[in-house]
């Protein structure tokens, strides 16, 4: 089983990522940045994120070596927060996001953006070496 974690906001993301890197050194860490979900509807404000999440989850369930994969879901905040060009997820050196959803194989240049995350054939490439 892929280990899965879920956090909201930048600080929580940084803290959790540091934990994961400490605890699971050497494993593949996949991070999905997504528009945060409305607590009532449990739906993200971002339509591509809504489509992407189940696709990504399904791919994780089929990962060739699930015990080698750790997954971190990060809610980047409300639409308003994200749309700000100064949003920390956009500006910070470690993330430099241009779009949500973005799925990153952490520590590598491999990332998928927007509708690319909806395609299982693309997501599966992140499991290749």
């Amino acid at each position: 089983m892929v280990q899965k974690y879920k956090v909201e906001g930048f600080e929580a993301f940084e803290a959790k990522l540091a934990d994961i890197q400490r605890e699971f050194a050497g494993k593949t860490v996949l991070v999905l940045f997504s528009g945060s979900k409305d607590p009532k509807t449990h739906q993200s404000w971002c339509p591509d994120c809504v489509t992407a999440e189940p696709v990504v989850q399904a791919c994780l369930d089929k990962a060739p070596e699930p015990e080698q994969v750790v997954f971190l879901y990060v809610g980047v905040g409300s639409r308003e927060f994200w749309k700000d060009p100064q949003c920390i997820f956009r500006t910070h050196q470690s993330t430099q996001l241009k779009a949500v959803p973005t799925l990153i194989k952490w520590g590598s240049p491999q990332r998928l953006e927007e509708s690319q995350c909806n395609r299982p054939d693309m997501v599966e490439m992140l499991f290749d070496d």
Partner: protein, 676 residues
């Protein structure tokens, strides 16, 4: 693909679908005619079905061993055979195999009308079977279609014996340009329409374009490690070990120079005023950028539905190759066409120690440690460029040259490049060839003693930290069975080809650095790949144009050229029919920096008998690539000297010096500029 479309009842189709609705009487007549024609046409096809009972063809095109079916329509005379013992499925399969484009439709369905209109407009010959005119058989056929294709609705289109889809699939394939390519791909039982060998500059473009135009395509890319063990990702030479890291290291070197110039402009550097380059940091930054490019290519191939195979390809026969992956696993693949785009690799000299102790450009750009005192062997543009940025990075750099600099380039310009590099402190050892190398000390870098001989027989020896060979490149055409399948190679291993990049085997094409007598440049490989893909898929006629290809050598003083060198112009037209306009210039940005006044130079080689048509453009100075690319447009359009003079300059720039050049070489007047 198998989008379901509603079955529209007669006249029930919404008008916005763009179908025309005829009065019932006319429709009845049309239906009658169609029924008659179907009766006449289905008989022969039923016969075909008998000849191919239950032919279990793989409809998705994956490997199928059953051999070449004859796809022509059965001659009417054969139509008299009794129809017995054939299922509906066999009949349908017979129809599918019997026509390049087979459409199962209904007379009452507006989407079917749409497809018929589209095919008519595009002059696509299709065979139609109207299921609603066949009573119970029509219903049975529809069931069979569901079984065969997973699609029950009409129109159900098959192209070259393979399921294609419905109306919306055809419309979108038409608008994306795929339809024509799909049809032209023809009937075959190979797994792929086209296999491209080599995922570099040319191969990537060719594979994506073939796929975009409707073909089923795979691209093989496999990097064999260097003797030192360097290896890299998808994208070929340019991205990994060529243009890209080369230009970035050149830029790193230029920046070092700019930091020094900055002080002359009033900037003060805190602390140590001499900038120093952190080699591992530069390499890491460059490699990280390359990593993102490798990934981008992989994503793009997926996106364009090209199958990427990280396997080394070898021919088994003219339609089959064997792929070997990293783990040594072998797989066979078949295709109708092949595109050879394997590029080349650096040569090593045949001397003791070369492969064990030397490196090439394949290692340099990812070298994790500072190479230290370096010897660049060779006078190719790659050797001079590497020497240039190594010197710019602050290293003790030497170039060993056997005879002339930059063979094939304008020699006046080549020598000016050499002069400038010498002025910058690069050592040149001329007319000298190494014959032995020995390790003096292990380490990163270690120490290597190089033994060489001057042409006059005198000995040269020196110790270097790194020895880089840049003495030429060999095409990657050996060891993959090319000659065994009939592909003819020139003596130097390059592929002999015609003007449409066809090799001596009719279904095998070649592009890029493997081609005989063609420039080895990324944009050329890209152009060849793009145009070849269109010729293969669509039957386009457009050929690659080989005149006026611009290029730039990124030595410390950059050199850009388009068209003929002075020597070549003279050889082609005779000394009497060329006039050379030339000029020395001092870039404004070099004035405060107190850089050389005499280094930058430009010349236009013109042909008096053609009204001073410019046949050679040469620029030696900053930003040569940018300037030359712009002027290449004029050269392609056949500009004359007068066209250059008609332009108004942009001031103050270096490019503006090309306007109103008035000093000819033949006049003997000094080309030194007289100021603004």
């Amino acid at each position: 693909m198998n989008r379901r479309e509603p079955l529209f009842k007669q006249l029930a189709g919404p008008a916005e679908q763009g179908t025309c609705h005829l009065p019932p009487l006319i429709q009845d007549i049309i239906i009658l005619v169609i029924i008659i024609s179907i009766c006449v046409q289905t008989l022969p096809l039923l016969v075909l079905a008998i000849f191919n009972p239950g032919s279990a063809q793989d409809l998705d095109g994956s490997s199928s061993s059953s051999s070449s079916l004859k796809r022509n329509q059965v001659a009417p005379s054969e139509a008299m055979a009794p129809v017995e013992g054939t299922g509906v499925k066999a009949k349908v399969e017979g129809l599918i195999k019997g026509h390049t484009v087979m459409v199962f439709s209904k007379t009452t369905c507006p989407f079917c009308d749409q497809i018929k209109d589209l095919f008519k407009q595009r002059e696509i010959q299709a065979e139609y079977l109207e299921l609603d005119t066949l009573g119970q058989e029509g219903t049975d056929i529809q069931e069979a279609l569901l079984e065969i294709s997973g699609q029950k609705t009409v129109p159900n289109v098959f192209i070259n014996g393979k399921h294609f889809g419905g109306c919306s699939d055809a419309l979108s394939a038409d608008s994306s340009g795929q339809l024509k390519g799909r049809i032209r791909a023809g009937f075959h039982d190979y797994q792929f329409d086209t296999i491209v060998i080599g995922g570099g500059s040319g191969g990537l473009v060719a594979s994506k374009e073939c796929s975009r135009l409707g073909q089923k395509v795979a691209v093989f890319d496999f990097v064999q490690p260097t003797p030192l063990g360097s290896t890299w990702g998808l994208g070929g030479t340019c991205v990994n070990v060529g243009c890209i890291p080369k230009k970035l290291m050149h830029q790193a070197a230029l920046l070092g120079g700019n930091v020094q110039d900055a002080q002359m402009f009033g900037w003060s550097l805190s602390g140590d005023s001499k900038p120093s380059l952190d080699w591992p940091k530069m390499v890491e930054a460059i490699q990280s950028h390359i990593g993102s490019l490798n990934w981008g290519y992989k994503v793009a191939l997926r996106d364009k539905k090209v199958k990427y195979l990280n396997e080394y390809a070898r021919f088994v026969d003219a339609h089959t190759i064997k792929g070997v992956n990293k783990k040594g696993k072998e797989t066979e693949y078949t295709a109708q066409n092949f595109v050879l785009a394997m590029g080349g690799r650096p040569k090593y000299p045949d001397i003791p120690g070369a492969k064990e102790l030397g490196i090439t450009s394949d290692d340099l750009f990812s070298l994790p440690y500072n190479p230290g005192k370096t010897l660049c062997v060779g006078a190719s543009y790659i050797s001079l460029e590497c020497a240039g940025f190594l010197k710019g990075a602050g290293l003790d750099t030497t170039v060993m040259v056997r005879s002339i600099l930059l063979r094939g380039f304008d020699q006046q310009m080549a020598n000016k490049i050499g002069d400038y590099m010498e002025e910058e402190g690069v050592n040149f050892i001329r007319e000298c060839v190494p014959y032995k190398m020995e390790r003096v000390e292990e380490g990163q870098p270690g120490k290597i003693k190089v033994y060489a001989k001057y042409n006059d027989g005198t000995e040269f020896t020196d110790v270097f930290n790194t020895v880089l060979f840049a003495i030429g490149r060999d095409p990657c055409t050996s060891g993959l069975g090319l000659e065994e399948v009939g592909v003819k190679l020139a003596k130097n291993g390059k592929i002999i080809h015609d003007e449409a990049e066809r090799t001596s085997v009719s279904n095998i094409y070649a592009i890029g650095d493997v081609l005989q007598d063609k420039a080895e440049l990324t944009p050329l490989a890209i152009k060849q790949g793009m145009l070849l893909a269109r010729r293969i898929t669509l039957g386009d006629k457009l050929l690659t144009h080989y005149e006026n290809i611009p290029t730039t050598v990124f030595t410390p003083l950059e050199y850009g050229c388009v068209g003929l060198s002075e020597e070549d112009a003279e050889a082609k037209y005779g000394r009497d029919d060329i006039e050379v306009f030339h000029k020395n210039f001092w870039p404004l940005e070099w004035t405060l920096a107190k850089r050389s006044e005499a280094a930058c130079y430009l010349k236009l080689v013109c042909r008096p008998s053609e009204d001073m048509k410019v046949v050679g453009f040469h620029y030696l100075g900053p930003n040569a690539g940018e300037i030359t690319q712009g002027y290449a447009g004029m050269m392609v359009m056949g500009a004359k000297k007068a066209d250059f003079d008609r332009m108004v300059g942009i001031h103050p720039t270096n490019a503006e010096w090309f306007i109103s050049m008035d000093i000819t070489k033949s006049s003997g007047v000094s080309p030194t500029a007289a100021g603004c």
